[in-house]
Amino acid sequence: MAELTDNPAVAAPAVDALVASRGEPDWLAGERRAALKTFEATPWPGPRDELWRYTQLERFAVTGLDLVPGPRTEDVSERIERRIRDSDAEGVLVVKNGLPVRREARLREAGVVFTDLATALREHEDLVRQHLYTAVNAPMTKFTALNSALWTGGTFVYVPKDVEVELPLGTFTTADRGGLGAGRTLIVVDVNAKATFIDEFTSDPLPGRLFHDHATEIVLKDGAKLRYVSLQNWSREVAHVHKQRAFVGRDARLESLTVSLGGDAARVEIESELGGPGAESEMLGLYFADEGQHFNQYTVQHHSAPRAFSDVLFKGAVRDASTAVYSGIIVVDPGAQKTDAYQTNRNLLLDRDSEAVSIPQLEIAANDVKCSHGSTTGPVPDDQRFYLMSRGLRPEVAEHVLVTGFLHEVMSRVTLPKVAEYVERVVQAKLGVPGVREKL
């Protein structure tokens, strides 16, 4: 794999130009330059790295790509306009080609901040400075370092103490050109506050290859609650890398959902640190890979405090020479007694050319815990298919009923009806259900 250092888009002058054009404060410029150094000093992961041995790294190559942001164009296609309208999100930020282009939010709750990161830096610098780079932090990986050096666009959400934001907020990240882009989401939910946020990634077919590197930082203070959805349905020219890390404080609760449907290849890393007693983290995942897509997902349930609960449920299907990789780990630190942690991965293989890899791991260093994990992989059960066909369903209809049924276990735990509806439609379109693709 070619080294990236010969790519002028990821070198000190590019970062300096980025800082200058955005008029960013010195402390942030310093963070970006330090991250670039880390990026340069970090070798590319390879198949010999345990965490990357099933990742098709060449599909995440960034050599030769020009740096997004820009150009600034506000108009989005009718299809994406409809997506935004049909979403559960009531407050919407649109980031296109790495630049915030539109914001619509009717926030009644006092003190809530929902804006792009550049604006937030001007208007709420202290809040941003206090939290940025704290959840997704050292040690940085090759890709998080790249993001930390180059992110543009981006979203900042702050919900003050005791405030509950009723309406879901969301950012639509889209593009109409290829290149190398990075986006960042920073969500801070203060003590006993509550919010819902949807990060959606979508595009119409692009004229060139896009590599999008995203980072989501979530900080949940004591008693805070957040529902976070990341919904990836890029067009097929896109390689998507996304690191999501949440710090979950005492008695705080995170409900996260990660959906992988689009793009050519996606690598998502979803991590919760249960950092306070009584913290809870539910991490749901759903993926459906077709036409040679490669989806690679990695979850971490890190219990650093006692009496916390975490649960992972990732389900997915593969067909048409696709690969899906799920690996996940429950880490229980010494002293994190009374930990309650579960992890489940289930895969459906829909044809012989496809491959599913599952690595559910445990590393437990406290003894008074309840931890379990399970993984199953198999075909659509023949007896169920036979049953449906005996009721008059055609084989392909029986299959899509069974696949949607299989994925329903995850979707039924998602309390955002329009997200669930959309995901179901995309899955149906992938399964070839007639008349669905046109409606997407």
């Binding site: 012989r352 599952s358 437990i364 008074d368 815990v369 931890c371 399970g374 199953t376 075909p379």
Partner: protein, 477 residues
């Protein structure tokens, strides 16, 4: 099986002993030949020369040495930094006489006494079809009962196997585990000595187990036995291996290679409960090639050693092949038991099952590392893996790393793992029935391991229980 002491008449006297006493049988070192320390070409050549081996074997050894040097140690898994090859004797020959004897009377008295203390000759008379005993690098005793010999069963030490059955030996040797496979297999291939050579002819069923027994005595020694087991079509037998070493303060190294061929319709079982002293690095490669409708069962118990890396595997290469691993690991203070299994499904209708139980006590760490691989075209393969870990102390650790790679639509693969602590209510209940706390704990641990223990022949199950009691002693307070 070090712990034949539990069936020994003196077993009762072990009550209340410190667990290091298990290894308190060290003999004065008095050897015919002891190589220099370190893994060198000279040592490899000397081993081959002293054994009077054919040219091809010397070439094989030297090639393996090159492979080992090129490969280097694995970069994953347990910490092996305490293992210093420059401080290890790779070959120690206990006596001048080449080859084994088949009467205990001909074994030097000191060595014989040790085996007696471990109860091996008694077990041989009572429960085994044949026994091999390895002392340091060489097999010193070998005997197969006549009734089995008459049926054409071959049970020899590997060096003698090479001499007496050169064609058969060459046909299978290093075909299941080539030196390229992994670093420790390469090291073993370069310096192997001793081990068992077993051939059970077509349709022969050996009703009682064959056993080999491995003993390390010298300080800083490496033992590299090489075992080759061939089950001809339709044969059925059970091979048991045991091992022990006295407790020295410096580290010893055991790295066996066990290759098993299960031909069509054969049923082969291999059981081992290793209880090396807590200064031994135990890094073993064991694998079976399983042909059409054949079945391979590994029973793997890991109680002793400082660090174990051991992943018994089955390559299910023909239609209907079946593989099984039943394993237990017991990690106590300072130990890391990194054990697991590999099931490679490379043919249709192959099935596999893995049950792994581990216990971590004190600062012990038990890891399950496994692989289930379903190749494309291995239609209707089924595999199920269950791992249960029990944590007895606050500092104890456990890990599970199951790799599941599936390339075939019709495969059904499942994995389940649970981690829990000793149930306080159960302990309390047993105490109300009059048991002391440590007795109650030992009883619960035995119950936890029961699904594995009941697969062992009776003598060994008794012994396993005995060992657990020894490991559990002093666990309270």
């Amino acid at each position: 099986m070090s712990e034949l002491n539990s069936v020994h008449p003196d077993a009762a006297k072990l009550e209340g002993m410190q667990h290091t006493k298990q290894y308190d049988f060290r003999l004065p070192e008095d050897y015919y030949y002891k190589s220099g320390k370190g893994l060198t070409k000279e040592v490899v050549e000397k081993i081959s020369y002293m054994k009077g081996e054919p040219e091809w074997m010397l070439k094989f050894r030297l090639r393996a040495l090159e492979i080992a040097e090129k490969k280097g140690r694995p970069k994953w898994g347990p910490d092996l930094s305490g293992l210093n090859f420059d401080d290890i004797y790779f070959y120690v020959r206990p006596n001048e006489k080449q080859g084994t004897v088949d009467s205990w009377d001909e074994i030097p008295e000191e060595v014989r006494k040790t085996y007696q203390r471990l109860g091996v000759p008694e077990a041989e008379q009572r429960a085994l079809a044949g026994v091999g005993a390895q002392y340091e690098s060489e097999m010193v005793y070998h005997k197969l009962k006549e009734e089995w010999e008459r049926l054409g069963v071959i049970f020899l030490d590997t060096d003698t196997g090479l001499k007496e059955y050169p064609e058969l030996f060459k046909e299978y040797f290093a075909t299941v585990i080539p030196p390229e496979d992994n670093y420790f297999a390469a090291v073993n291939s370069a310096v192997w000595s001793g081990g068992s050579f077993v051939y059970v002819p077509e349709g022969v069923e050996v009703a009682v187990p064959l056993q080999a027994y491995f003993l390390l005595n010298a300080q800083n020694i490496g033992q590299f036995e090489r075992t080759l087991i061939i089950g001809a079509p339709g044969s059925k037998f059970h091979y048991i291996e045991g091992c022990t070493a006295p407790a020295y303060t410096s580290h010893s190294f055991h790295s066996g290679v066990i290759e098993i061929v299960c031909q069509e319709g054969s049923q082969v079982r291999y059981s081992t409960i290793q209880n090396w002293s807590h200064n031994v690095y135990n890094l073993v490669t064991q694998r079976a090639l399983v042909h059409k409708d054949a079945s391979m069962g590994w029973l793997d118990g890991n109680l002793g050693s400082k660090t174990t890396m051991k992943y018994p595997s089955c390559y299910l290469i023909e239609d209907g092949a079946h593989g099984e691993v039943l394993s237990i690991a017991f990690a106590t203070d300072g130990q890391h038991q990194d054990a697991g299994s590999k099931m490679i499904h490379a043919a249709p209708h192959t099935t596999s099952s893995v049950v792994s139980k581990s216990i971590s006590k004190g600062t012990g760490r038990a890891s399950y590392r496994g692989l289930v691989q379903i190749h494309e075209g291995a239609e209707y393969a089924r595999s199920n893996v269950e791992c249960d870990a029990l944590l007895l102390d606050e500092q104890a650790r456990t890990d599970t790393y199951p790799y599941i790679e599936i390339n075939e639509k019709s495969a059904h693969v499942g994995h389940e793992a649970t981690v829990s602590k000793l149930d306080e209510e159960q302990i309390f209940y047993l105490q109300t029935r009059g048991l002391k706390e440590d007795e109650a704990m030992a009883l619960i641990v035995r119950g936890f391991l029961d699904p594995v223990a009941k697969e062992l022949p009776l003598e060994y199950a008794v012994e396993l229980n005995r060992l657990i009691e020894l490991e559990m002693e002093g666990s309270v307070g």
